[in-house]
C-alpha cells in the first residue's frame, strides 16, 4: 500500500493562454499528481522566463522545470547580448529547439506567452513532439480536451483584458470540474507593456456551472 507511489510527478493539467490587444492572459490549475496522490495542490505552473515572458507547463514536472530553467538562462544571456528585452518568438523558438531535439526523452507540453515591443501580446504553443505555432488562444494539458468546444464557441477576437481573464477563469473551472488530474485553485496572470498582474481564484470562489 503506497499512496506516495513511485510514479513520476506529473502536472496533468489544464493550462491556457489568450492574446488581447496590448498583452496576454495566462492561466493554469494547481494540481501536481504522483499516481493518484496529489503531491502539490497549490502548484504554480506559470513560470517566468523573462520580465514580460512566461510559460505554462504541462506534462512531467521535472522535465518542464528543467527546460524552463535552461531557456531562462539562454534567454537572459541573449537579452544581455542584444541589450534589449527579448522577443516572445525568440523564447518560443528556444523552447521548440529543446523540446524537438530531445522529443523522445521528454514529456512536456508548454505554452509560451508574453509581450514585446515588436508584435505586442503573443501566444505560442509547443506541444509534445516539439512543433511551434502561434495561436490567438491556446489550451494544453489533459483537461484541455474537455474545453475545446467551450473555447471554440466563446472566443472572439478583440476582447479586453478583463474579458480575457473572465474567459480563462471560466474555461479552467469547467476543465477542473471534469478532469480528475486538474484541480485546486486557478492561477491567472496578465502580461502587458506596463508589467505583470498575478491573481489567484480559490476553490470556493470559482465560477460554477451545471453538472450532470
Amino acid at each position: 500500500w503506497a499512496p506516495l507511489s513511485s510514479s513520476p510527478h506529473t502536472n496533468s493539467t489544464t493550462i491556457m493562454a489568450v492574446e488581447f490587444d496590448g498583452g496576454v492572459v495566462i492561466g493554469a490549475d494547481s494540481r501536481t499528481t504522483t499516481g493518484a496522490y496529489i503531491a502539490n495542490r497549490v502548484t504554480d505552473k506559470l513560470t517566468p522566463i523573462h520580465d514580460r515572458i512566461f510559460c505554462c507547463r504541462s506534462g512531467s514536472a521535472a522535465d518542464t522545470q528543467a527546460i524552463a530553467d535552461a531557456v531562462s538562462y539562454q534567454l537572459g544571456f541573449h537579452s544581455i547580448e542584444l541589450d534589449e528585452p527579448p522577443l516572445v518568438q525568440t523564447a518560443a523558438n528556444l523552447f521548440k529547439q529543446m523540446c524537438y531535439r530531445y522529443r523522445e526523452e521528454l514529456m512536456a507540453g508548454i505554452i509560451v506567452a508574453g509581450w514585446d515591443k515588436r508584435r505586442g501580446g503573443q501566444v505560442y504553443t509547443v506541444p509534445m513532439g516539439g512543433m511551434l505555432v502561434r495561436q490567438p488562444v491556446s489550451v494544453g494539458g489533459s483537461g484541455s480536451s474537455y474545453i475545446y468546444g467551450f473555447i471554440d464557441s466563446k472566443y472572439k477576437s478583440g476582447m479586453t483584458k478583463e474579458e480575457c481573464l473572465r474567459f480563462t477563469a471560466d474555461a479552467l473551472a469547467l476543465a477542473m470540474e471534469r478532469d480528475g488530474s486538474s484541480g485546486g485553485v486557478v492561477r491567472l496572470a496578465a502580461i502587458t507593456e506596463s508589467g505583470l498582474e498575478r491573481s489567484v481564484i480559490l476553490g470556493n470562489q470559482l465560477p460554477t456551472f451545471f453538472s450532470a
Binding site: S145, Y146, G149, F150, D152, Y155, F209, F210, A212
Partner: protein, 218 residues
C-alpha cells in the same frame, strides 16, 4: 514476394466503429436527440451519412456509439423486445423500460460488447426523459453526451445548459454541441441528424454540413 503487404486495403481489416458524437437533452414536454454521421474503419470513413439515431419504438429513440455492429445489434434486439412488451401490456412502453432492456444487454455482455447507447423518448407517465447506459449502468440525466467527440464538449455543455429550455433552444443547443465536437474530433463529422420527440410523435431532421453554425476560426 517477401515483405509485400496484402493486396487488400487496410481498412477492410480494421474494426468498424462509429467514432461519433451523440447527445440527448430533455426539455419541458419532450426530448431532442442528435448525432453526427461518420463511421470509420481505422483512418477511412466507410459511411459519411449514417444515421445513428435508431428508433426503439414510436416515441423512444436511441443514439448509437462505439462499435457499429454491437450498437446496431443491441438496438435491433431491444426494438424487438419492446414490441413484444408493448403488446403484452397493451399500451406504449415507458422510456425507462426501453432503457432497462438496453442496460440488461450492455451489462450482461459487457466484456464482449463495446457500445454505448443513450436512450431518450417521451412517455405518458414521466414526459421527456434521457437515460445513460454506459458500461451497463442505468442513470437518468437532464442531458447526456457520448462517443469520442463528447470529450471536447463537456466544458461547453456544462457552461451552456440551463434547466427549463424550450424545444427550439434545446435543438439549437444540440446543433451547436454537435458542430463543435465535429470540429475537433477526427472520428466525428459529416451531417448532423436530429430527432425531436414529444407527445405528438417523433420528427427527424438532417442538417447538411454547410448549414451548420460556424465559429470564430472558420
Amino acid at each position: 514476394m517477401l515483405g509485400e503487404s496484402s493486396i487488400q486495403p487496410e481498412w477492410l481489416s480494421e474494426e468498424v466503429k462509429t467514432g461519433t458524437t451523440i447527445i440527448a437533452i430533455g426539455y419541458e414536454g419532450g426530448v431532442v436527440l442528435g448525432s453526427d454521421s461518420r463511421v470509420s474503419a481505422g483512418a477511412s470513413v466507410v459511411n459519411r451519412v449514417m444515421n445513428k439515431l435508431s428508433p426503439l419504438h414510436d416515441k423512444i429513440y436511441c443514439a448509437l456509439s462505439g462499435s457499429a455492429a454491437d450498437a446496431q445489434t443491441i438496438a435491433e434486439i431491444v426494438n424487438y423486445q419492446l414490441d413484444v412488451h408493448s403488446i403484452e401490456v397493451g399500451e406504449d412502453p415507458l422510456v425507462r423500460s426501453a432503457a432497462t432492456l438496453v442496460k440488461n444487454i450492455s451489462y450482461k455482455y459487457k466484456e464482449e460488447l463495446s457500445a454505448h447507447l443513450i436512450v431518450a423518448g417521451w412517455d405518458r407517465r414521466a414526459g421527456g426523459q434521457v437515460y445513460v447506459t454506459l458500461d451497463g449502468l442505468l442513470s437518468m440525466q437532464p442531458f447526456a453526451v457520448g462517443g469520442s467527440g463528447s470529450s471536447y464538449i463537456y466544458g461547453f455543455v456544462d457552461a451552456e445548459y440551463r434547466k427549463g429550455m424550450t424545444k427550439k433552444e434545446s435543438q439549437e443547443f444540440v446543433v451547436n454541441a454537435l458542430t463543435l465536437a465535429m470540429g475537433r474530433d477526427g472520428s466525428s463529422g459529416g451531417v448532423a441528424y436530429l430527432v425531436t420527440i414529444d407527445q405528438e410523435g417523433a420528427v427527424e431532421r438532417c442538417i447538411p454540413g454547410n448549414e451548420l453554425p460556424t465559429f470564430f476560426d472558420q
